[in-house]
Symmetry: none
Subunit: 401 residues, 2 copies
Amino acid sequence: MDSQELIKSLSRSTPSKIVLLVIDGLGGLPAPETGKTELETAKTPNLDKLAAAGICGLSNPVGPGINPGSAPGHLALFGYDPLRYVIGRGVLEAVGIDFPLEPADVAARGNFCTVDEAGIVTDRRAGRISNEKCAELCRLLDGKVIDGVEILVRPVREHRFVVVFRGKALSHEVSDSDPQQVGIAPLEVTASSPEAGKLAAVVNRFVAGAKSALSEHAPANMVLLRGFSEKTDFPSMSEIYQLKPAAIAGYPMYRGLAGLIGMDILETGRGIVNKLKTLTQHYGEYDFFFVHVKATDTAGEDGDFDRKVAVIEEVDSGLTELVSLQPDVIVVTGDHSTPALLKGHSWHPVPLLISSRWCRADGVKEFSESVCVQGGLGTIPATQIMPLAMANALKLNKFGA
Amino acid sequence: MDSQELIKSLSRSTPSKIVLLVIDGLGGLPAPETGKTELETAKTPNLDKLAAAGICGLSNPVGPGINPGSAPGHLALFGYDPLRYVIGRGVLEAVGIDFPLEPADVAARGNFCTVDEAGIVTDRRAGRISNEKCAELCRLLDGKVIDGVEILVRPVREHRFVVVFRGKALSHEVSDSDPQQVGIAPLEVTASSPEAGKLAAVVNRFVAGAKSALSEHAPANMVLLRGFSEKTDFPSMSEIYQLKPAAIAGYPMYRGLAGLIGMDILETGRGIVNKLKTLTQHYGEYDFFFVHVKATDTAGEDGDFDRKVAVIEEVDSGLTELVSLQPDVIVVTGDHSTPALLKGHSWHPVPLLISSRWCRADGVKEFSESVCVQGGLGTIPATQIMPLAMANALKLNKFGA
């Protein structure tokens, strides 16, 4: 019996409520001038109060040294082993825009990009065109049928879109056309298995057609495709935990991921205040809420230390509304670290706090990397967070006699 | 996907450099008079400086409570699960003297020993005879052919030698003749599988012949054999990590082990000063260096607390040369503990420090057992050290989207 099966066998439905607040890319690295991380620099009286009443630690989303993408980072937080449950990027984008994927569909993540006269990629994001322009270009490419395969193209945001290939006997095992760098031409898509030959040919013809159709639309004069994938069935959170879960997230990918594991996706606005307003509105309807804050990660990826500090402070001041709802369990953590100094995701363990009446509080009085490392939870795999949250909500039966 | 496969799938080659300094048997136990271990007694300003700039912890080479041999201890440090990758002692000795083992060869570790008139072992090491005497006696035993099996005997050091059985359809599954204690006679070698019957018979005839041939050579008047084994193929460090690795070690076994996983073995002299001179000379040619210090372990095994302290201080003063090379990542640890009080290897977790620009330093200011136990890394399996070193060298791609 693996640990997920164990939790599934013990979970019970009760009225108690769990709120999991994910501050994306929360963990950081100290600025050389101050020796303090983003979280340590931010004034966070409410988080510190929660930490003091709770039990703290650090979590490794995938494993020590492993730098997690957003999907494995979140899956781990929801208690799904990220090495076992793998979601293709294309599927993630498609469910993120509520696209009704059919079981045999193959989805890919698309970028509009810029190529020069020689066909060399000069900007992988086409200068981040507007959402409107993206939608217009998607309409231009949508609805083609190549060799009996229907091709559906839908805008996501800025330069990003989803393309879905719908046809008989398609295998997703084809390579990316996106070279993931500028200075070279988009790659020919090749089949990694004999069954995927048909899709590879269709994709290459689609890309060639897109190039012609977009030739007058510079900077968005070409497409890059990656993450060809099919939808796979994951056990839902309600199956595993007997929970009625809801997601409060703005960014498509996180909504999509939450949908894949059976959360209801609530409509919400930008920023923590709107997210917590949504939480309050729907508080009676669910017993598990995933609340997602994206702007910390974006600031970290942009290398903007101060903006990440400011977002953390904004989250902190919003917390009074969350606390006033008096959930039985509040978990605050991130899906990975995104230190502004590294301008990207990193492997560093992520600050974690679990606050509940039954948490057995440790001596930690401050929510920060350097204090959480001394916390009562120690440094744990992120997949252990849900079992701990469930336990603190008194939602797990005893194991054995 | 196991963690080694995961690391393999994420590793990338970059110019950054990692130096792994292994102070053999580093961990200790406190002297009752002072309450301080060998490492805590030694004055180690350079190690303390590295610890202050780095992140510290303790490592368990094989598992909590498990007392590791040198081979599993080192394999774990190189990221190879020591329960999965097992190297026979005979093979280890053979590769340690650069003996060109063929795939079907069976190698055993040999000791010249002393037996009395009744054939009882009185000294398992024959008074540690000289290297010259060992070589002379090996020539005496070398080159016999028994039942079509060629028997090759090569000196290692002092009382130690290697014997290789080369023939058709030999299985290594035979028991040791070495009783591992004095006061009893050498054991009859027996086959543990039907296929090994032939080798067992050949070995017993070889031992009987050696006893006659050595009868006039007391104290080296008998042989003890153990660790019959064949060479198995391990994935190399360059396959797993995309590294170009080099080993700087004097002692044959460590050179042999490093060779088995594909490290280049550099010629070097005795002592830390010569080792680091070799490091400096070859610094441009590799991106991973394993530097091995043996004398700490030897002092610990001899129960010589003060000598172990002195060796640690010698290593510490040599460190300025290592630091001046400015490797991107420096790891300092041991392959196991060898407390002088126990006169042997022990299960105690081993002090560990990882120093890099990106390590997220903890508050540890002193490299010692009692301070490292509070360190930011916590107490981790030694197999996690390489993933962390690779991450700190920015040599691991992100996992998942």
